[in-house]
Each structure stands twice: as C-alpha cells, then as structure tokens.
C-alpha cells in the first residue's frame, strides 16, 4: 500500500468530514442553544442545493450562484424559524420530532413541485480536472475547493463564536439558557440569527456537494443521520466538538470503505470483502458513538460545563 493511496484517502476523509461539519455545526447550535431537535435541517441542505442550481443557471457563474444561494437559504431558514419552529421550543422533544418530520415531507413535495425531482448543477469547467499536489499525487481540483471552503468556514466560525459579542451570547445560551435570559439577552432574536447561520451553512454544503453527488429530492435525509451522530460524538452545542466529531466520522467512514475490503480481501471472496467494508465502516461509526455515550455521556467536548 503506497503513501499516495493513503494520502489520497486521507484527503477524501477530510473532504467528507468537513462537509459533515458544515451540517453538524448548524444542528449542534440549534440543538444546544434552543434545546430543539430539528429533523428538517437536512431539508435546508436540499433547499440550498436546489436554490444554488437555479441561481447558477440564472447568473451563469458558479461562484455567484453559490454565494447568492447562501443568504437566500439563510433567509428561508429564518422565515421558517419565525413562522413555524418558534412555536415548538416550549414543546417536548417528541412533538418537535413529529413536527419537523412533517416539515421534511412537506418541503420534499414543495421542492418537487417547484423544481421537479432533480436539478442540474455542474462544477465549474476550470475545476473539473485533477491537480498534481506533489509529484505522483493527483487529486480532483473540485474536491480541493471543498476542503479549502470547509476549512475557511471552520476558521470563520471559530472566530465568530470565540472572539465576537454574538459568539459570546451564543456560548452563554448554549451553556445555560435560563441564566443568559436572566442577564437580559434577547434570546428570541439570537435564536433567529443562529437558525439563519445554520441554514447558511447547510446551503454551503448543499451547493458544494451538489455537483459531486446529485441535486435531488430527499438528498438531505441520509446525511442528516450522520450529522446527528457527529454532534452526539462531539458534544451537543459545542462547535469544537462538531468539527472533531465530523472529521472523526469522515475519516472512519472512508477508511472503512477503502481499507477494510483490502484487509478482508486477503481471506474472503471479493463480494463478501467489499460488502463487509462499508457495512463494518458504518457500524464502526455507531460503535464509536455508543462507546463515547457510555464513557462520556456529554460527548467529547460538552458545551455545558
């Protein structure tokens, strides 16, 4: 097994992990600060991708389309928060799960009505080829862009949460909501803002992954489950936990798909070896989650001290 293969697979894991982070970051804030389970978070990811596909077509530029899709999705997210989700904060988790599950179905059908069951979103021509990072290591330029954007957003979020006044309020809200409320924080405006940021991050992930995967109805559901695993591993409400949890899940999943078939291939027929790889990789993610829940029920980096 060459270093090139290991390097390439590590980059694949990093790319997947960073995209998971964008989804998990919004989810962990909403869950941590508002104590609200939002299953419709994946629908915002889908909406972001569809809006980006339309805007790229209208503007004729990939960058412009994606950059416009982010505030547009954020706005939609905030409208959703003000109009529907706000009434759910006082309810128990089961009501929230039921209501936001209904939202998934409604938004799926709404998207189907507006756009149809899928939309075309192509990566920019200039990035459609590979780049030679170091001699012998070729990597798709577009996946490098995803890694770069993911890292930039992570740094931006770190600064926003740790160095600004808004970030301080968010941290205060996440660690003790009642106390923050008692200290005079305008929690309602803060919630709407946080929801908008979460939706914006969804749009970034949806628009960037769209050309690589497919922009289609229901694209948010599978990835949402992984995002929940990430925030449970990382610690609910913790941005640092979301980042490390996402990278952990991304790398464990890629390693499973890439290297377990090789390991099993040594002593099993190919159809079993390559089926066992992804199967055990996905079990490994949940096993990791179960172990962390057992030994550290608050996650790796709990937000509440």
């Amino acid at each position: 097994m060459s270093w090139v293969l290991i390097a390439e697979q590590s980059l694949n894991g990093l790319q997947f992990g960073l995209m998971l982070f964008l989804l998990a970051a919004g989810l962990t804030l909403v869950f941590g600060i508002m104590d609200m389970i939002n299953l419709a978070h994946g629908s915002l990811y889908m909406l972001g991708a569809f809006i980006a596909a339309s805007l790229v077509q209208v503007t004729g530029s990939f960058a412009a389309g994606v950059l416009l899709a982010v505030p547009a999705t954020a706005l939609l997210g905030m409208i959703l928060e003000v109009s529907i989700l706000r009434t759910l904060y006082a309810r128990d988790h089961l009501s929230q799960v039921l209501a936001t599950f209904a939202l998934i179905l409604i938004l799926n059908e709404a998207v189907r009505l507006v756009w149809g069951s899928d939309a075309a979103l192509a990566m920019p021509q200039a990035l459609s080829g590979p780049v030679e990072l170091v001699p012998g290591l070729m990597y798709p330029a577009y996946r490098l862009l995803i890694i770069a954007v993911g890292l930039a957003v992570a740094v931006f979020l770190f600064l926003l949460i740790n160095k600004t006044r808004i970030g301080m309020l968010v941290r205060a809200g996440a660690s003790n909501r009642e106390m923050a409320l008692a200290m005079g924080v305008n929690i309602q405006a803060l919630f709407t803002l946080v929801f908008g940021v979460g939706a914006a991050l969804c749009a970034v992930a949806g628009a960037l992954l769209g050309p690589l995967l497919a922009v289609q109805v229901g694209m948010g559901e599978n990835i949402l489950i992984l995002a929940f695993v990430v925030i449970v591993i990382g610690g609910i409400g913790s941005m640092r936990g979301a980042l490390l949890g996402a990278l952990l899940v991304g790398i464990v999943d890629t390693i499973g798909r890439a290297f377990l078939p090789i390991a099993f291939g040594a002593f099993l027929p190919p159809q079993f070896a390559s089926a066992a790889g992804p199967a055990i990789a996905s079990v490994a993610i949940y096993l990791l989650m179960a172990l962390i829940l057992f030994f550290r029920p608050q996650g790796l980096f709990p937000a509440r001290g």
């Binding site: 097994m1 060459s2 090139v4 293969l5 390439e8 697979q9 694949n12 790319q15 997947f16 069951s117 899928d118 075309a120 192509a122 990566m123 459609s128 080829g129 590979p130 070729m138 990597y139 798709p140 330029a141 577009y142 996946r143 690589l212 995967l213 497919a214 289609q216 890629t254 798909r257 890439a258 078939p261 090789i262 291939g265 190919p270 159809q271 390559s274 089926a275 992804p278």
Partner: protein, 390 residues
C-alpha cells in the same frame, strides 16, 4: 368491483363469440415508466414505437393499430394493474413497453396466464432465457448479459492484462460481472461491489488509481453511472485507464447530463446511430425530425419492437385473435431491424451482432457513439440450452 368488471368483460367477450375471422384492427397495450427520474428510457421507447406506427400509416402488419399507453410510475404494483387492465379488459393482442425487469417480472405473468403475447422492448432477464423460457415471451432487444459479454470479449481482443471491475452489490451487479468474466481471459485487478445507490466514489477511485489496471469496466446503471463517470474524469483517471461501459451507460440519454466527460469512453451495444443499413438511416432521420433529439439505443429497441409486431401480424395474415398463428409468425418473423436482419433463437431471444463503439463528436460537433467494429457475429446467449422449448 374489479371482479364485477372482469365478469362483465368476460361475458361481453363470450357474447362476441369465438367466430374466427381476420380482425379489423390490432390492439397493443404499452406499459412503461413514463414519469419520475428514470422516465427518459421509457419515453424514448414509447416515442420510437409510435413513430414506427406513424411511419407505417397508422398500421401494423396491414391492420390499423390501436396503441394504449400507460405509465407504471416505476412501481411494480402499478405496472401489474395496468397489464391486468389491458390484458383482461381491453383484450389487447400484444403487451409491450416495460423498461425495468423488476416491474416487468411482476406484470408479465398476467399476460402469460391469459395467453397474451409479451414483446419486450428492453428487459430480457437470464431466467426467462433458460429454464423458465415462456412461449408467450419474445425479446426485441438483447439478452441481459450480452453487452457485458461483448465488453469482456473486447478486453480479451485488446489484450488487456488487467481489468478493474465495479458493480453494485446486488444480483444484477454480480450477473453482469459474471457475463464480463465469461469472455475475458486476462486477469482481474480487483472486483469491487459498492452499495446500491452510492453517489460518491472517491474511495473506490483512489483504489482503482493505485491498482493501475489497463481498463476499468463498470456496471452502474442510472444516476450511479452518471456520478461515477463525472468523478472518474475529475480525478484524472481517464488519462491512464480506459473506461469501458455497457452501451446503456454512455448512450444518448447519459450523454445529455454528463457531456464532454464521456469523450473517448468505449462501450458495447447491438445498435449504433451510424450503423449503415436502410432501416436505421430511415429511423434515425425520422426520429430526429419528429422529436428534435437523437435517438438512444432504447429508442431503437422500441422501433424494432413495432417492426417485429408488424412482421408477425403480416405473417399471421391479420389473424391476430389466433395466438398460436401469431406465435409461429413471430418465431419466423423476417424483417430488417434497426441493426440489420432480425432473427430469434429457440428461446425467443435475439441472435444478433454486437458492436464496439466510442463516444466522439460527429460532423456537427455533437457527442454521439461511433461504431468502431464488430465484436460478436450472430451471438445468442449462454442460457438457451436450459430452455425446454423447441
């Protein structure tokens, strides 16, 4: 309610009596997937079938043709209901149309039980070619394994030392790679089975790059193949590894969403846009004129299905109500299809040539499949010896 309708229909049928005279029209039930993400194939088949009827002056085999069209919505239960309606209530003379084998297999038993002939414009699964071959099942397309076998033969002809194989981890995926291996004599670099419906192939592509095979053969139907090919090119693998696909993974319906990434892809099929015969020239020109797009191989299959029914009705001298006469006429049908002379094996699956094609630009700069050569001449299938029909 349905039993009542069926009873009413049956008594009506009885009232019409068994008097055998040449029918005044031929009735065809056409059920296919015409909506949803997989609709492009069914629409191509339907359009070409109707085009053939239209070019024939609205007739098949000299009789006015009535084509009832239904959408199975990609759901086996809907397909079965429509088949039941067409066979039992409308009493069609032929049933046809299904694209997907799972929907067809759920629906055709209705036709078989009622001795209605099904002519398949696409799905031709291996079991129905062998032990379970059926007197009422005819294929106007190609046996399931044929494209994969042709691809394997091509890899052998080309002298490839190692080929990397990728397919989804389900029965059709394993069958297709088995078909490839039946005719490939070199070594297999790796045989990878991915999850069905997987959309990101980064890990698999990195493995393929590291294995340095001469060629890569994929069986990834639909959206899986579209994603794989785009990611294959973006990873820069197309420079070092020759991509080989079955014809349906790089035909006109895939060229539309994938575009230039497909340039240079090698594939195998029983038909190509530029196959030089009179029927094909006429078909391609008429299809493009009527629908403002180039026909896919599915369209060619739909066209051939209509031509086969046309030849059978003519052979039966219009006596479409006598199913045994029509069956015999179908088995003996002689006509020029879109891929040359049409001939059926004793299991009623075609014996035909398979061609090597490459995706390239035509004189107008459009991406099309160009024929490079013939891989198999008069090729049947590996299952016919198990078929008890004589």
């Amino acid at each position: 309610m349905r039993t009542l309708l069926v009873a009413a229909a049956l008594s009506l049928g009885a009232a019409a009596g068994p008097g055998v005279q040449a029918a005044d029209k031929v009735k065809i039930g056409f059920v296919s997937t015409l909506s949803g993400p997989s609709a492009a194939l069914g629409i191509d088949i339907r359009d070409a079938f109707q085009l053939a009827v239209k070019m024939n002056g609205g007739k098949l085999g000299g009789l006015p043709a009535e084509v009832l069209v239904g959408d199975d919505q990609f759901k086996p239960e809907v397909g079965r209901q429509l088949a039941e309606k067409y066979v039992k209530l409308d009493k069609v003379d032929f049933l046809t149309g299904f694209v997907f084998s799972n929907i067809m297999l759920a629906s055709v038993p209705v036709a078989f039980e009622n001795k209605t002939i099904y002519v398949s414009p696409n799905a031709a699964p291996s079991p129905l070619a062998g032990k379970q071959c059926n007197p009422y099942f005819f294929v106007a397309s190609w046996p399931n394994d044929a494209y994969h076998e042709a691809a394997g033969q091509h890899a052998t002809n080309k002298g490839y030392k190692s080929v990397y194989l990728i397919a989804p981890n389900y029965q059709a995926g394993k069958d297709s790679l088995a078909g490839f291996k039946r005719f490939y004599k070199g070594s297999i670099a790796n045989e990878v089975y991915t999850q069905l419906g997987q959309l990101d192939y980064s890990a698999e592509l990195a493995q393929a790059r590291a294995a340095k095979p001469d060629a890569l053969y994929i069986f990834l139907p639909g959206g899986m193949g579209i994603n794989f090919i785009k990611q294959f090119v973006a990873a820069g693998l197309s420079k070092d590894i020759q991509l080989i696909t079955p014809g349906f993974s790089s035909d006109q319906d895939i060229i539309r969403p994938v575009g230039d990434a497909l340039l240079g892809t090698i594939d195998t099929a029983h038909w190509a846009l530029d196959l030089d015969n009179a029927t094909n020239r006429k078909f391609v020109a008429a299809f493009e004129k009527e629908y403002q797009r180039l026909p896919s191989l599915f369209a060619a299959q739909g066209y051939d299905t209509a031509l086969l029914i046309d030849a059978a009705v003519r052979g039966a001298k219009g006596k479409v109500e006598n199913v045994e006469t029509v069956r015999k006429a179908l088995r003996d049908a002689k006509f020029e299809s879109s891929h040359g002379p049409f001939k059926l094996n004793r299991n009623q699956y075609p014996i035909q040539n398979y061609y090597l094609r490459v995706v390239a630009r035509d004189s107008q700069g459009r991406l099309v499949n160009k024929t490079l050569g013939t891989i198999f001449k008069d090729h049947g299938d590996a299952y016919v010896q198990d078929c008890p029909m004589k």
